[in-house]
Every structure is written in structure tokens, then in C-alpha cells.
């Protein structure tokens, strides 16, 4: 008999370039290799900064791009990619810090990417320091 509890691995970096991303465009991360960590789900935390002329209904979307062949082939980062989070970007020149749990999209694959779509209505801020994407990997353990 044992207790099943959470197991966390903090502060996992994601390599992605979001500064100066044009409105309507998508930035795609480098491949995230989950074949050794074997996280079941993850919390992704995204920081982004708008410029002027965002729209009242502007959104930033976080997408998951899956592979089913060990990281050789990935989904297209287009309208068919699965959204794992949709966040308001309706204020000019503002930094937002938001997060989402991938659990609602099922168990993570062994290789995946994430993508950020700028739907704010304006180009993103140009300073790389105003953007970040990192995640907390989550598992269970029995003790």
C-alpha cells in the first residue's frame, strides 16, 4: 500500500523566438524531447508583450505540435494545430504572463513542439527580454 502523489520538474526552458512576431504569424519552438523525462502533462507559462494598435478582441494562442514517429515528422502549425490556450492581448504595450495545463489535450507525446500565434492585431514588441516560454513537467509517484 502506498500514496500516489504529484511529482514536479520545474523551470524547463523552451527555445522559441517571439520578439517582433508579425500579427497573424506563428512562432514555432525547437523540438521538446520528452523521451527521457516522460512527463505526462505540463504547465506552460508564457510571457508576451504587445505593441500599439492591438484590437479589442486580440488573442494570443498557444498550440501543441505533435510527432508520432519519434520526432521526425511534426504537425503543421496552421489552423489544424491543437490549441492548448487562448489568451487576451487587448491592451497596447502591455506584458502578459499566463499559463495553461496540457492535461485537457491528453497525455504528452515523446517529442513535441509548441507554437505561439500572434493574433493581437499588431506586431509583438521587439525586445527579446519581454518574452519567455517555460514549463513545469508533471508526473505521479507512489511512495
Amino acid at each position: 500500500m502506498g500514496t500516489i502523489r504529484s511529482l514536479y520538474t520545474n523551470n524547463q526552458p523552451v527555445t522559441i523566438s517571439m520578439d517582433s512576431l508579425p500579427d497573424g504569424s506563428t512562432a514555432i519552438s525547437d523540438t521538446i524531447n520528452n523521451s527521457t523525462h516522460l512527463f505526462l502533462t505540463a504547465d506552460f507559462q508564457l510571457k508576451y508583450t504587445t505593441t500599439v494598435s492591438t484590437t479589442p478582441l486580440g488573442l494570443v494562442e498557444l498550440l501543441i505540435i505533435r510527432s508520432a514517429d519519434g520526432g521526425a515528422t511534426f504537425d503543421d502549425a496552421d489552423l489544424n494545430a491543437e490549441s492548448i490556450g487562448s489568451f487576451a492581448a487587448n491592451e497596447d504595450a502591455t506584458t502578459f504572463t499566463v499559463s495553461t495545463d496540457t492535461a485537457l489535450s491528453g497525455q504528452l507525446g515523446d517529442y513535441f513542439k509548441v507554437a505561439v500565434k500572434n493574433g493581437s492585431g499588431a506586431i509583438f514588441d521587439a525586445n527579446p527580454a519581454n518574452f519567455s516560454l517555460k514549463y513545469l513537467g508533471k508526473q505521479y509517484e507512489m511512495v
Binding site: 504529484s6 520545474n10 523551470n11 513545469l136
Partner: protein, 149 residues
């Protein structure tokens, strides 16, 4: 082998709700889940509305949000309408105490550090007496059982 629920009651969340203005968020102190390792929790809120809540067709409510950290409690989500909503509760009567509970299961496994944000959408400020407010939670894990238990 079977599995059953395991509960840890009456954990306190530190948050200041008394007098919270309409439309504003209150944000709790950080909840350190790095040693408890609860997978999900039930959050129970007791609060008292203020006087002068607008009548129908207004929909006075109180909304609960989870603010995550993914870096061990250094950076948390912003407390605004982008935050992950846990639940919304109706609070339609003036100067009335309400107690309600939300399960975090619908937003996934909790991280090791998180905060709770509460938005007053009742139309008026909350009651001003701190004793009329309380936020606690029950942590939940699972327990595996040997065959036959």
C-alpha cells in the same frame, strides 16, 4: 490492487477579501505545494457581500482563478481575466454570507507553487469585516491498495 481517495483537510489560504472593490482581484499568498504534493484540491470560500447589489438583469458573481508558477514560485501568472478560471459562483443577495466550494480537477494537476485569485463581480464592494471571510482547502491524493483490500 485498488485505489482510493486520500484527504488532507483544513489547509488555510491567506488572502484579504474584506472590502474588495467591485471589479477588482484579490490575490492570495503563494501556496507551497512542493512538500504536500496534492494533485488536486477542493477550495472552500466563505464571504459576505456588501450592500446595494444591483438587481436583475445584473448577474452578481464571484470568480475564482488559479495563478500558476512553473519556476518554483518565482514567477506567477497575472491576476487578470487571462488567468485560468476555476469556477464562478452566484452571489445575488445584499449583505449575505455565502460558502461555496470548487474542485480544481477541471483545470488539471496542480503545480508545486500556485496562488488563488478571487474577482469581485457582485457590483459593489465586499463587506468590510475580515471575520466574515475565510478560504480553506482540502488536499487530495490517491492511495494504492493491495489486492483484496
Amino acid at each position: 490492487m485498488g485505489t482510493r481517495a486520500l484527504y488532507f483537510n483544513s489547509n488555510v489560504i491567506t488572502i484579504s477579501l474584506a472590502g474588495l472593490a467591485n471589479g477588482n482581484f484579490a490575490t492570495s499568498s503563494a501556496v507551497d505545494n512542493s512538500s504536500n504534493l496534492f494533485m488536486v484540491v477542493d477550495i472552500q470560500i466563505t464571504l459576505k457581500t456588501g450592500s446595494g447589489i444591483p438587481v436583475f438583469p445584473n448577474r452578481p458573481t464571484v470568480a475564482l482563478f488559479l495563478l500558476r508558477s512553473v519556476d518554483g514560485g518565482i514567477t506567477f501568472d497575472d491576476a487578470n481575466d487571462n488567468a485560468q478560471m476555476i469556477d464562478v459562483f452566484q452571489t445575488k443577495n445584499d449583505a449575505t454570507s455565502y460558502t461555496f466550494t470548487a474542485d480544481t480537477s477541471n483545470i488539471g494537476q496542480l503545480p508545486d507553487f500556485w496562488k488563488l485569485a478571487i474577482k469581485n463581480k457582485t457590483g459593489v464592494a465586499f463587506d468590510s469585516t475580515p471575520a466574515n471571510f475565510n478560504v480553506i482547502y482540502t488536499g487530495k491524493k490517491l492511495e494504492s491498495l493491495p489486492i483484496g483490500v
